[in-house]
Amino acid sequence: MILSAITFLPLLFALVVLLWPNTKTLRHLALGLSIIEFLASLAMLAHFDSSTASLQMVERFTWIERFGISYFLGLDGLSLWLIMLTTFLTPIVLLGSWNSIQDRVKGFLVSVFVLQTAMIGTFLAMDAIFFYLFWELSLVPMYFMIGIWGGQRRIYATVKFFIYTMLGSVLMLVAIIYLMFMTQETLGTMSASLLDFYRLKIPFIGGQFFTLQTLLFFAFALAFSIKVPVFPFHTWLPDAHVEAPTPGSVILAGVMLKMGTYGFLRWTIPLFPEASEYWAWLFMTVGVIGIVYGALVAMVQPDIKKLVAYSSVSHMGYILLGLFTFNQFGMTGSLYQMLNHGVSTGALFLLVGMIYERTHSREISKYGGLAGVLPLFTIAFFIITLSSIAVPMTNGFIGEFLILLGSFKAEKAFAYVAVTGVVLGAVYMLWMFKRVFFGEKGELVKDEHHPLHDLSCREICVLVPMVVMVFWMGLFPNHFLDFSKASLDHLVADRSNYQLAIMGDKAEVKAATTAFNKAEASQ
């Protein structure tokens, strides 16, 4: 019950907002509702049993019987924190966009809530078609968010975003349908359940591209790679980020990109273990290219927001690299880095949005000397910058360090190149920081007709939770990772024959263990 509530409450909230008669209190209402959702997710966290890798709080009903499609929600250590991230960021985004969204507020709030349902559903759905439904549904509100409340070139950016992502996902749909027919052959009845997909033995022939597992693997991987986005497919991201309004950017960078990396973690790697292993070099390579390329391109951006967008490409490269190390360090680091990136890049976009609200410009060259005028803002920006470049004691450090450690264990060459990304990251962030906050006062800063005001009470409320999270996650990573440890251990250890049991369901547990024992015996 609790998972359905978490997933569909925002949809209900969207309806409430839609029917709310008083436009003046709309924002207050939405903020309150999003906090209720966050509290609900805290209740979910309290119920979570961190000692098991099984799926918890499972809800499962038949939905389309003919094709074995079910309404199937389940939670484990891989999805837990991503949901917390989503529910945590939403109130912050709503508070952060208090003044920046003035036009069609109602539509905007409805989009945010629908998007929240789509994102949480993507993380919780354990049925392939159900998952696909949320996955595609998430495009629509984001499409409107960029297209209606975005910047100058918003229409180009939003159409590109929509088409690009859809292109990736339709091939995944074909692969899903194919897997459903495979379940029919091997298990007797057609099923779209992920747990049944895990039971399939998909023939793999290394070195030949046009073989079953390789093709299916790439169909899924393409969809997720576009969403992440992995290096050659990243071109939609800077456009979408730059044109999106601040809350859109925060949600896009904070949560939606994680849908891609989560897809790798949940779907691609356990479903196609041999193919993932065989093609790991490819994904590690593009991951490393993404790290370096993203950093280099970020360095030369004249626009702060674009710089942050390219830094996302670089950070997501780390996550991809860590995922394909297949060891404890790398995968844990990746999962942690997903959360870090959500917090730090989300906060960066918020900060960029705050300064943009004041000056209506994001050009680095027009700033300078902001530190003297906006001390509080500078402090906040500095802390988040440190987190973004992974200084010890901040959250970024834990994630990057684990990923580098993991890649060093797996393949040294990649680690060598990836390490340069740490330096490059410091270069572009600190250089930008220097140009914006120190030195001579820029034309926008010394403009006497428009004196700049430091952070308002509301903005401090937006930033404080983010800063707290930066240090909390940096100092006490185990507070977070302990919840995911069992699931990650299970994934790393049993990757070649991954099964997920449903907690409390004896039959499922038994089926999973017998399948596992059989595989053991055959080895």
Binding site: R66, F67, G147, I155, F162, L171, L173, F181
Partner: protein
């Protein structure tokens, strides 16, 4: 052969009889009133009443006959089965919505509204015959009844240039297609000795590979249908006719006519001629791919809303042809066929909705609705704009709408028969189609403008649009049971 017309047969064709009688009511009243129109509401009411009565009878007859061992009517001329029932219902609903559009659209609601209602109901009668035909000649009669009424309806428009051209084009190409079809039937009759479809099915396995004349006959019949359902390269008439015809008529042609033509196509394809003839199988597959690509790519460059919808309907013909091919090669006919029928339901609903919105904009018979004209519609009429958004996203196949599930079922059955490459073409084409379906949404929501639609605040068209939009979403979410019902009906 002895022709016994039993009372049972008459009861089984009662929907058609009722429809025919109902079609006469408005014009009879007009004649009795000394050639003066009664109020258009009354005419509309009579027309809708006729359609509703036919639908109810259709349902009752189907319920009664579905258990009986002999579903045939009039010595094997007509058959009452899942296809005839479901597609018949689609046709009746689509005709009803088109009637509502005709009533509200200034281009069609004029001096001759009674005649239009008569023709629409006659056309619907032809459709019911067409979907129930078990004999190729009866099928031809249904086809012609339906088409002749349509030719007249388009030609009756007050608009002088485009609609006349459209009517003429439609008439010539339609007749050409009918001629091809009839020519094919003559070959089939010559080789098999019968025009009864089940008998042709019996002989196909043996004749298709050995008898050239039989093959020519099958090919000609299929080509005739390719014309009717606008499969490229036989599609050229579609954009001109849809654009030129008054919007309500275009809506009728794009939904009801297309659905029933595909249903008849489905009956022909169950002869399993595709299994016997490898060439025909290959050619049809390429035609499907060509149709999808051509329809979608051409739709991208259109500026006229109706023309864009016309090309989109061509593209959808391509998707449905994938389903038809699947049925043609499949052992489990009902699996593929229910995918096709479900798709037809969804396609008809969302296309009707889109055309209804276009119709709402038309102030007179010369209105030309460009896509860019929609600017600012979302601010003026948020509900209508949202409905159009639902229709367009559904046409593009975004979940959880019926458009997504229609495609899902269609391509699932194709993949199940190993036609993965056709399914791949299908999904890639839906990505292309997303580009032009998004364009009206962009214009409505993201561009400034002050378009006002012509309809009054609460007119029947708006209600029809709202209901269709709700059903597009609801039938998507609860598509499972409906699909199962359709499949059960077909097996």
């Amino acid at each position: 052969m002895n022709f016994n017309i039993g009372i049972a047969d008459l009861i089984r064709v009662s929907p058609m009889i009722v429809l025919f009688l109902a079609s006469l009511i408005p014009i009879t009243i007009k004649v009795l009133r000394g050639n003066r129109e009664q109020s258009s509401e009354a005419t509309l009411f009579q027309g809708l009443g006729g359609l509703a009565a036919a639908a109810i009878l259709q349902m009752t007859v189907y319920m009664a006959v579905s258990d009986s061992p002999n579903p045939m009517v009039f010595s094997n001329a007509l058959v009452i089965d899942g296809v005839s029932f479901w597609v018949g219902i689609i046709a009746l609903i689509a005709s009803a919505i088109s009637l509502i559009l005709m009533h509200d659209n200034p281009a069609t609601n004029g001096e001759q509204f009674s005649e239009l209602v008569f023709l629409t109901l006659s056309s619907a009668l032809g459709m019911l015959i067409l979907v129930a035909a078990a004999d190729l000649l009866v099928l031809f009669i249904g086809l012609e009844t339906m088409s002749l009424a349509l030719y007249l309806m388009i030609a009756m428009s007050h608009e002088q240039k485009l609609s006349k051209e459209a009517a003429f084009k439609y008439f010539i190409l339609g007749s050409f297609a009918s001629a091809l079809f009839l020519y094919g039937v003559s070959f089939l009759f010559g080789t098999v000795g019968s025009t009864y479809i089940p008998e042709i099915i019996q002989h196909t396995g043996q004749l298709i590979s050995s008898n050239r004349l039989f093959l020519i006959g099958i090919v000609l019949v299929i080509l005739g249908f390719c014309f009717k359902v606008s499969i490229a390269p036989f599609h050229a008439w579609t954009p001109d006719v849809y654009q030129g015809a008054p919007t309500p008529h275009a809506a009728l042609m794009a939904t009801a006519v297309k659905a029933v033509s595909f249903a008849a196509f489905l009956r022909i394809i169950t002869t399993k001629s595709l299994v016997g003839s490898e060439n025909l199988f290959t050619i049809l597959q390429w035609l499907a791919v060509l149709t999808m690509i051509l329809g979608n790519v051409a739709a991208i460059i259109q500026n006229n809303f109706k023309r864009m919808l016309a090309y989109s309907s061509i593209a959808h013909s391509g998707y449905i042809l994938v389903g038809i091919i699947t049925v043609g090669v499949s052992e489990r006919t009902s699996f593929g066929a229910s995918g096709v029928i479900f798709y037809l339901v969804g396609y008809s609903l969302m296309t009707l909705g889109a055309f209804a919105i276009v119709s709402l904009f038309e102030k007179d018979e010369n209105s030309k609705i460009q896509i860019d004209d929609l600017a600012g519609y979302a601010k003026r009429h948020p509900v209508m704009a949202f409905c159009l958004t639902i229709f367009l996203l559904s046409l593009a196949g975004v979940p959880p709408t019926i458009g997504f599930f229609g495609k899902f079922y269609l391509f699932t059955s194709a993949i199940g028969e190993g036609l993965i490459w056709l399914a791949l073409w299908g999904v890639l084409n839906s990505v292309i189609s997303a580009y032009y379906y998004l364009r009206p949404i962009v214009v409505m929501y993201m561009k400034e403008g002050d378009i006002e639609d012509a309809g009054s605040i609460m007119n029947p068209t708006r209600v029809a649009i709202l209901v269709s939009a709700v059903f597009v979403v609801l039938l998507g979410i609860f598509s499972g049971p409906i699909y199962s019902i359709v499949e059960k009906a077909l097996s």
